[in-house]
Each structure stands twice: as structure tokens, then as C-alpha cells.
Symmetry: C2
Subunit: 235 residues, 2 copies
DNA sequence: GTACGATTCAAACGATCGTTTGAACTCGAG
DNA sequence: CTCGAGTTCAAACGATCGTTTGAATCGTAC
């Protein structure tokens, strides 16, 4: 059992994980070959299958390495908030800030490695491949349930169904922002770059937007089906 | 020049485009091989390179076939709104609804083919590959500029920089919702499915959320840099 | 030193990828 | 009919993929 490692020169396993994390972020899962990963990590090609079994298991390990602690911290943050509130409903801003701030702390990880993972995470939410879809729900189920319950308590006038919708939109805005896909920025060439790379600045702008959407007036008829006349002729 | 086609039995070119559209949506660009596409379309493998030149050009054609008319309609909708407003600022809800309703109309295209494309479009915003990033800005530049100007006029108290941020978040929520990545739904197993497949229902829920975020109070200090004390010791 | 499990290595495996080739087929014009 | 441009077809191309193999190497216990 080697103990005095991973500090100056990470061992093969972590070198592979670090290289894979960056390359997956830059090019996606399918477009990143094991040869690119091992070349960047400075290890032999066969090391991936030796240490992880397969590329798919490598992908899962890349996620679980960071996602476990991240979501555990999110739960701990919510625990602390609810403990200090003593049964009273929390402020929606507090709740969302707790969720986001854990990501911010990860983004400030040494050597900016956390930032790469956050962008990879945002990208993964839109990945159609079955790889991610298999274990992402397991990783997020507890967090979503707890934060959803806290928000439901904070916003008693919002029906459960509507809250699920708004959580969906919130996740979309967060994932897209973390993913840093930049389509809008590329389209407009608006210079957000300096702030966009500062996670605290992102949260400062994102938080009011999310709370505004979360506390917005409810849609007109929440329960209408298409049983009546279809559309009212708008032109 | 054959004229009487594409009605009962689409020609090879459109059969390929239709098949590619669905498969790209289901599995992404990299994971979809030309052999899957041609097999689904019922055409020969070489037909893709004969009609489109390369897989990359096929991808571009899949997008431009629908994106051109879609964004043209978005511009036309805004033209009509601004004409009837006669110089007065529009309502933010009107503006966003105009943007979204064009997509709704596409989604109700015959044979639900438009729905497949919208989900593909939402997915493409998160694609890291260079394919999409090259021409998506060109397709969206005019639309974003016009709608951004209309929103700036409608929300004179929102600084330009903040408006760009909020447009970014809005695009994220829309793209994620259109993409239908379902991670949240999978995580919670909340039965949104029936409504989620009805584009008008999606807009009915999405619109108040987006307007709420767009008109939310501005973040505390809009211009702060990290010049002062970094953080206030939270524990 | 020797022996042995853990790890690394160069090399190759079969499969699949996007693309190309050249012949066969279609069909209206002459 | 013949012709030829447009299109479709089966087959193969070279490249790259994830994975496997078996020997070489390392580090440690005896």
C-alpha cells in the first residue's frame, strides 16, 4: 500500500481521471478516444482497461469521483440551513444559494480542476448517451428530493406539479450556464468572458434570475386539458 | 428536373435528412453512423456522400433545413408585434411568447417531425463538437440581436450586461427543456410526461418562469470586482 | 539473491467508422 | 432504338476505435 503518493506525482489511476475529465469536457465522450486520454496522462494505452475495466466504467468513475462529495456537501448545506431555521420555511434565495455555492466551492478547487468538471457536468445533462443517464439519477435523487421539499415548504402557494416544472427550468439554466457552451456568446460576441470564468460572479447573476422565475406568477389555467376548444384563433 | 415528387414518397435526399434528424436526436452526432441513417432511410450507404458530400455537411443540412424558416418566422413575428406597437415598448411576455410560439408551430408540423428537430436543436446547444458551433451563431445572430433589442427597450432599467446574462439563462432553460434530457424526471420519477410532450403546455409553464427571471430584481452590486476584501469569513 | 503479485509495456485483435470506387440501373431526349 | 447524365448499388478502402494479449518490469517479502 503506497501512502506517500498522489501529492507530487499522482498515480496512474488519477492521472487518467484528470486527463479524461479535461478531454471529455473539451470534446465529449464519444469523440474522446482512450489513446488521447492515455497520451495526455502519459501512461500506457492498456492502463485504462487495466485500472477501470472499460471506457464506460472510466466515465462513471470520472463523475462519481466529484459528484459524490459535491452532492453530499449540498445536503449538508441544506441540513445546516434547516437546523438553524427550526421548522420555519427557508427563503428560496437561501435554498438556491446553498445549492449553487457548493458548486462554486468545487470550482475553486486547487489548480482549477474543479472548473473543468463543472463544465463537464453541465455538458453531461444534455448527453443523449446511455452512459450518463444510468447513474446520474442515482447521484441526484436524494439532493433533488430534499431541495424540492425545502422549496415546496418555502413556496406553499406553488402547486407541486408547477414546482417540478420550475425545478426543470432551473436545472436547465444551471446546466447550460455551467456547460459554458457559449452559443449565445459566440452569436453576439458580447464580452461576458471575464465574469463568466468567475464562478461567484456567475452565481451573483444567476441567483436573482432563478428566484425570479421560481416565484413568478402561476400560469393562467394550471389544470386545463385539451378537452375544450383547442385554440382561440390568435392569427 | 423532377417536380412531382416529395409528396407521397420523399426522394432520397429528404429520406436521409428525416432519418438523420431522428437518429441524431436519439443518439447524438458522433454515435450515429451513416450506416444507421441509410438503413433507416432505406437507401444505399453511398447515397449520403453522393448527395451531401460528407457527414459533416449532412449535419449542417439537417439544421439549416429547419432553422432557417424557424428563425425567419421568429423575426417576422417580432416585426408584426413592433409594427402594431408603433414605437412603444413591447411587453416582455409578448416578446418571449413570440420567440417560443414559432417553435411551437414547428413542433406541430405534420407527422410530429418538427418535434424531433426541436429536441435535436436543444441537444445541439450543448454539443461540444465543432460541427454545430460553426454555423449556429450565423443562424441565430440576427434573431438574438433583434429580440435582445426589443427586450432592452421593454426593460430600460436592466443594464445591457445584465440583459445578456439573463438571455443566456433563458436560452439555457429553453434548450434544456426542448432537449428533453429528462435527467430531473428520471431522478424524481415525476409524471410530467403527458404535458411535456405537449408543446403548448410546455410554453404555458415556461413563459411565466422566464418572464419572472427576466424581470427579477437586479443583483446587489452589479459592478463589483474582487478589489475589496475577498470574502467575509462565513465558516 | 529468489520468488511473486502488481503494474506497465509494445503489439496486435476484430469491429466499425467515413469515404471511395466502378459497375449497374433509370429514364427522358434525340 | 441509342445515348448519356443522374442515381443507385455492392464492395472495398484505409483509418481509428475499444479491447486483449503475453512478455517485460517494478516493488516488496522471504
Amino acid at each position: 500500500m503506497n501512502r506517500i503518493d498522489t501529492q507530487l506525482a499522482p498515480d496512474t489511476k488519477e492521472r487518467i481521471l484528470d486527463a479524461a475529465e479535461v478531454l471529455f469536457m473539451e470534446q465529449g465522450f464519444e469523440a474522446t478516444s482512450l489513446r488521447m486520454i492515455t497520451a495526455r496522462a502519459g501512461v500506457n494505452l492498456a492502463a485504462v482497461n487495466y485500472h477501470f475495466g472499460s471506457k464506460e466504467d472510466l466515465i462513471k468513475t470520472v463523475f462519481s469521483r466529484r459528484l459524490g462529495p459535491l452532492n453530499a456537501e449540498r445536503l449538508a448545506m441544506l441540513d445546516r440551513l434547516e437546523a438553524s431555521a427550526r421548522g420555519r420555511p427557508l427563503d428560496p434565495t437561501q435554498i438556491l444559494e446553498a445549492f449553487l455555492s457548493a458548486g462554486v466551492r468545487l470550482a475553486r478547487d486547487p489548480a482549477r480542476r474543479g472548473g473543468a468538471f463543472l463544465r463537464l457536468l453541465g455538458r453531461a445533462f444534455a448527453e443523449p448517451s446511455g452512459y450518463v443517464r444510468e447513474f446520474m439519477p442515482d447521484q441526484y435523487e436524494a439532493v433533488v428530493a430534499r431541495y424540492k421539499a425545502a422549496l415546496a415548504k418555502a413556496l406553499p402557494h406553488v402547486p407541486d406539479r408547477e414546482l417540478v416544472w420550475r425545478l426543470h427550468f432551473i436545472f436547465g439554466a444551471i446546466a447550460y450556464t455551467l456547460g459554458g457552451t457559449d452559443v449565445l456568446k459566440l452569436a453576439c460576441r458580447y464580452p461576458l468572458e471575464d465574469e463568466a470564468n468567475n464562478p461567484e460572479a456567475v452565481v451573483r447573476h444567476l441567483l436573482p434570475f432563478l428566484v425570479g422565475g421560481l416565484t413568478a406568477p402561476l400560469p393562467d389555467a394550471s389544470g386545463v386539458r385539451k378537452s375544450r376548444s383547442a385554440r382561440s384563433k390568435q392569427g
